[in-house]
Amino acid sequence: MSSRLASSAILPVLLLAGFAAVPFAATALDQPFWISFFARILIYAIAASALNLALGYGGLVSFGHALFMGLGSYAVALPAFHGIANGWVHLGLCIVACGLVALAVGAISLRTSGMAFIMITLAFAQMGYFALVSLKQYGGDDGLPVAATSRFGGFDLGSTLPLYATALVVLALVTWWMAKLRVAPFGMALRGARQNARRINAIGLEARRLQLVAFVISGAICGVSGMLLANLNAFASPSSLAWTVSGELIVMVVLGGIGTVAGPIVGALVFLGLEEVLKGWTEHWMVIFGPLIVLMALVGRRGIVGLIDLWPKAARPATPVPVSEGGV
């Protein structure tokens, strides 16, 4: 989407500034709950940004990204269970584990394309879910409380404010990188592979390798969001690998504006905000939300950022973002 607002810096900067103001507003209004609520939004925005790299830029419809969020959570909980609280160990384990798993999953899944790719990523996430559930000594189905949250020197992610600040900084850095990457050689090549993989191969780049690298980076960043989530909840659970989580991440990316820079942030904010509002009305809020998602799919996938883009009507007619879904 080569459109002005979609690629400009205004929206992300505004959003991040808004997020930065939240702890102050929350303290002033004596609503500490807001800080952890918005921390959760920040974390899912990071996960959605990671998915946006694979899905939005790369066109890979991964229905298994919850796997990486879950692995990231357990990369904290498992060492913590054995008494290791060092944040660097958690982070290192998180990135290496998620990177390697993404490499394996990606290498196998990218041998297919289209529907098969979607189903296989879903299956791999399910595999991870069952693997973790069957580890009874690490909590199994009930999940594993985080015995020791990540400490970076004196900085403890187990406290809400340090976690919030860290999540905000991580989101800012990830967003900045995704904005640069979008027009950097790798990003352009990746987006080219989404539009026309045949052509990418014909000019001397290997589409499949570009997609695999994107998938690995995406998995690693998604893992970091999981690490933050485990610190926020002081808990790691197999339910974070549920296929529904993968689906919700996809909804966030598309809702916000697939392939845009601010989209994932907007998507996470609107999704989780709407969920919170609807939950206030009824515990069966999904009965309303489900059809909304169906409607979104039927109506078209411009997303919120895309719609804002159409507002001035000076924008060029938007071409729908084609999805290549892996393989060639």
């Binding site: 989407m1 080569s2 990188w177 640069k180 990457l181 027009v183 950097a184 050689p185 790798f186 990003g187 352009m188 090549a189 987006r191 080219g192 539009q195 026309n196 045949r198 052509r199 990418i200 191969n201 014909a202 000019i203 001397g204 780049l205 290997e206 589409a207 570009l210 060029r316 071409t319 973002v321």
Partner: protein, 248 residues
Amino acid sequence: MASLRTEGLVKRYGALLVTDHVSLDIRVGELHAVIGPNGAGKTTLINQLSGELPADEGRIVFGGQDISGLPVHQRARAGLLRSYQITSIFEEFTVVENATLAAMAAKRHAWRFWTPMRDDPVARDAAEAAVSAAGLTSHSDTLAGELAYGQRRQLELAMALAAQPKFLLLDEPMAGMSVQESAAVTDLLRGLKGRYTILLVEHDMDAVFALADRISVLVYGSVMFTGTPDEIREHPEVRAVYLGDETV
């Protein structure tokens, strides 16, 4: 510039012999045209040369190197670039972005994750040169998806040029063009002669006879005759099989 030689190339679809022991010898710097009636197997042949279709038998030697087993992207990196008969470009990118991507691929600059692609002077220069050679400079910043048909064909050509080819495989560059557009592209290709080795597959006989150093006639998957335009014009079998209804 490089040469391209095929030795006994064979492709079968079941019992049907689509490429029948084709041996071509395209010399360095020449513009070699392949003509033939519809269904002769021209696109299948090109797809085997570019690597999108694996040959069943035979060898392909490119600039002295056997590339028979190489996948598409490696042949492209070796300098064997093609343009497609059905336009295959990046619709969401501008003309210059399309060309820069091709140039960047050739320069091996694709694995960069931070500085914008447009800030790469080497790739950018190569792209602008290719866009200019293809006659699209005035549309550099137009989205490829918004180009007119003839301009899309020009971009198709520009992308092959931007990727620093040693050899150009052009699959019906004038497909679907009007007389004026074809004449413009013919002039364009004439300007490329001598700078690149070119294999041109075309139906437009005016262009073929104006441009080609040598012509190979493909009939039912095999090369019936290879010769200069004059030799082709005089050859009685060629006239009968292919040029029968055409005034040359």
